[in-house]
């Protein structure tokens, strides 16, 4: 029996998402039994030639070379799935999109002339068509498994796009905003982490990016009622998913009010 082949590629990222695949300790042998890992540099030096039945892509596009390489990868696979905040939203490195990258280069590197990088960090979907985006910083290994199972069985993955609040309630967590006055991004953030932070009495950091219909303005207003400043709001929304449209716009709006208010 020929198994479907899997390729895993990396762009600008920390490797944490592709590691999630190797972190599937209990399920890894079962995965290897139903899918052939054909091109996964972090797992094996053996690389089989394309095409690949399914391809996972981690990381954002930050160089001209990457922008070309992703097109090649797209041509080698009928199913391209991006995994993680970098690949789906540009990642934490998308903070550069608000600044001048040449300034950074001069500050950090003795010889910035050796660098060849784009001014922006952008999600894969800005460059090629993507079949499915799996969110998270990092992705949930269980959701990753679900996506692979769904692919193998030819069905839509059960990956909810509702808020983290649903996960808190299903888990039996009491809302940290309501019961402890802790500012939380959960109401505007997509589920998937099993409400990790609120479970431990922390507000959500928004690792899984905006939920399906995020009302960032109303949540930000409530944060202000709870004592947060516009500066803190900008920082909260400019995180791993800073460049996702809803978070980007809200952070820009709040930054504009800092400037109007004259307090930085």
């Amino acid at each position: 029996m020929t198994l479907p082949t899997l390729a895993v590629h990396k762009f600008a990222s920390c490797d944490g998402c592709q590691l999630s695949l190797l972190d599937l300790e209990d399920e890894l042998l079962a995965v290897a039994g139903v899918i052939q890992i054909a091109n996964f540099m972090e797992a094996s030096r053996e690389v089989l030639p394309p095409p690949y039945d399914v391809t996972l892509v981690e990381g954002s596009i930050t160089t001209a070379h990457d922008a070309e390489r992703i097109k090649q990868i797209r041509e080698e696979t009928p199913v391209l799935i991006t995994i993680g905040a970098c690949a789906t939203a540009g990642g934490i490195q998308a903070l550069r999109n608000w600044k001048d990258v040449d300034d950074f280069s001069r500050y950090v590197y003795a010889h910035p002339e050796y660098l060849d990088t784009l001014q922006t960090s952008t999600p894969v979907a800005d460059h090629v068509s993507v079949d499915f985006e799996l969110r998270g910083c990092p992705v949930s290994k269980y959701q990753l498994l679900e996506v692979l199972v769904a692919f193998l069985q030819g069905r839509r993955p059960n990956i909810p796009t509702y808020s983290v609040c649903v996960e808190c309630k299903l888990k039996g967590n009491a809302c940290v905003m309501v019961s402890q006055g802790i500012p939380c991004l959960g109401p505007v953030t997509q589920a998937g982490c099993d409400a990790l932070c609120p479970t431990y009495d922390r507000g959500c950091f928004g690792c899984f990016g905006p939920m399906e219909t995020p009302n960032t303005a109303a949540l930000a207003d409530q944060w202000k009622v709870m004592g947060a400043s516009d500066r803190e709001l900008v920082d909260a929304f400019r995180n791993f998913n800073a460049w996702s449209e809803p978070f980007r716009k809200e952070s820009d709006r709040r930054e504009a009010s800092i400037e109007i208010g004259g307090v930085r």
């Binding site: 069985q153 509702y162 309630k169 039996g172 009491a174 809302c175 905003m177 309501v178 019961s179 505007v188």
Partner: protein, 398 residues
């Protein structure tokens, strides 16, 4: 409202039993008796900064001497200056946590050589719901109307074997409005035993009344004595007083017509600007019953299970049909929720779907208040827009 005389209640089985009196030891004995009868007793208990429902084995597990302060979008626990066992109202959970637990397995299939075999779901525990507030007892009755007629196996297997110890309310929260909804502060039906806690003038006792044959049996096993008239009066008086102390009100007169007539009210969009669509209101609501069914398979296809979990009309997926979601705006989703709960529920189940527990008010992260929103719709009732305004002119000229 209630007679201030020591009346006796007729149980649902028709038998009239006199109120009994027990003390805290008696409450412990009650919990013990239920455990002896094979019940898993679940009741309020402090978990972190909140009162949640969990397994309890004695009154020591209850939030003794704790009060909850609730406001729109706020819930805080505080110490009381007494040892009340039931000195708080409701937290974010309701008994649906046990009657329709999220993630319940309908059935499971295992692949065999020539097909598959099914594995029956596990038998659920026999629950005793301890400390159920009258609003929540009413909510269970409403859920009965949803699940029992369709013989929903997952629900009936839990509900039919359950036992309910209700606790009448003497200190409502500011978010409570059960008096408006006719569901409290005293319990009328749907309980096996009803307790009323009395704490005043150095006295601390519980009026215990049976509401079913099994309730009578259970009480008979306790060292309870008949209540004196003044003890009954005192307990009843506290409950009547609670009705006067309700923090909120919801006018139910003409509610269905009001909401049906205001489907196009522009005010829904205003609510939509504040609403987060986070689903918290529906998740904490003791009557919201919407669910979704998910199939889960093993990676190698050797087994599969069908699971039911909670869903909410505030998610996009909920109204997704070919081409997209029917209710794309938050305003449309809030309208759907509120209009169903308060109006079309009446056509569907012959009751209002709200019991006035106030959970949706307290647990909304931005404090949207159902009682205020209904009042706002009433104020802006599009049927009452005065003649001469553009809206009416346009409508008249069509």
């Amino acid at each position: 409202m209630w007679p201030l005389v020591p009346y006796t209640r007729a149980s649902q089985d028709g038998e009239v039993t006199a109120p009994l009196v027990i003390d805290r030891e008696g409450v412990d004995a009650l919990i013990g008796e239920l455990i002896n009868r094979g019940y898993e007793v679940v009741g309020p208990t402090v978990r972190g900064q909140t009162i949640l429902y969990d397994t309890i084995t004695s009154t020591g597990d209850l939030p003794v001497g704790i009060r909850d302060r609730q406001e729109a979008g706020t819930y805080r626990l505080e110490k009381r200056d007494d040892d009340a066992l039931f000195g708080y109202v409701v937290g974010p959970q309701s008994w649906k946590q046990f009657l329709t637990p999220p993630g319940t397995v309908f059935w499971k299939g295992l692949r065999t050589e020539d097909g598959f075999e099914t594995v029956a779901p596990e038998e659920p525990p026999k629950y005793a719901f301890f400390g159920a507030r009258p609003c929540d007892v009413a909510a269970m009755k409403i859920q009965d109307d949803v699940y029992l007629p369709i013989e929903d196996g997952l629900y009936t297997s839990r509900r039919k074997r359950s036992f309910t110890v209700a606790v009448n309310c003497t200190e409502p929260a500011s978010t409570c409005f059960c008096a408006s909804m006719g569901t409290g502060p005293d319990v009328n039906e749907g309980y096996d035993i009803a307790l009323t806690e009395v704490l005043s003038g150095g006295q601390h006792y519980f009026l215990a009344e049976a509401g079913s044959d099994e309730g009578t049996d259970v009480l008979a096993a306790l060292a309870a004595r008949d209540a004196r008239d003044e003890e009954v009066v005192k307990a009843r008086r506290l409950v009547v007083h609670a009705a006067d102390q309700m923090g909120r009100k919801l006018e139910t007169d003409g509610l269905k017509d009001l909401l049906y007539a205001n489907l196009e009210n522009p005010y829904w969009a205003e609510i939509g600007e504040r609403c987060l669509s986070c689903t918290n209101c529906t998740m904490v609501c003791p009557t919201c019953f919407c669910s979704t069914v998910e199939d889960r398979q093993a990676l190698d296809g050797s087994s599969a299970e069908r699971v039911r979990t909670w869903d909410s009309c505030f998610t996009l997926d909920f109204s997704y049909i070919h081409g997209g979601a029917v209710r794309s705006s938050a305003g449309a989703r809030y309208r759907q929720w509120l209009t169903h709960k308060l109006a079309s529920w009446q056509d569907q189940f012959d009751s209002i779907g709200c019991v006035g527990c106030g959970r949706c008010i307290a647990w909304c992260p931005v404090g949207i208040d159902i009682t205020k929103e209904v009042a706002a719709i009433r104020e802006r009732d599009i049927r009452l827009v005065s003649v001469g305004t553009p809206i009416v002119k346009e409508a008249a000229s069509e």
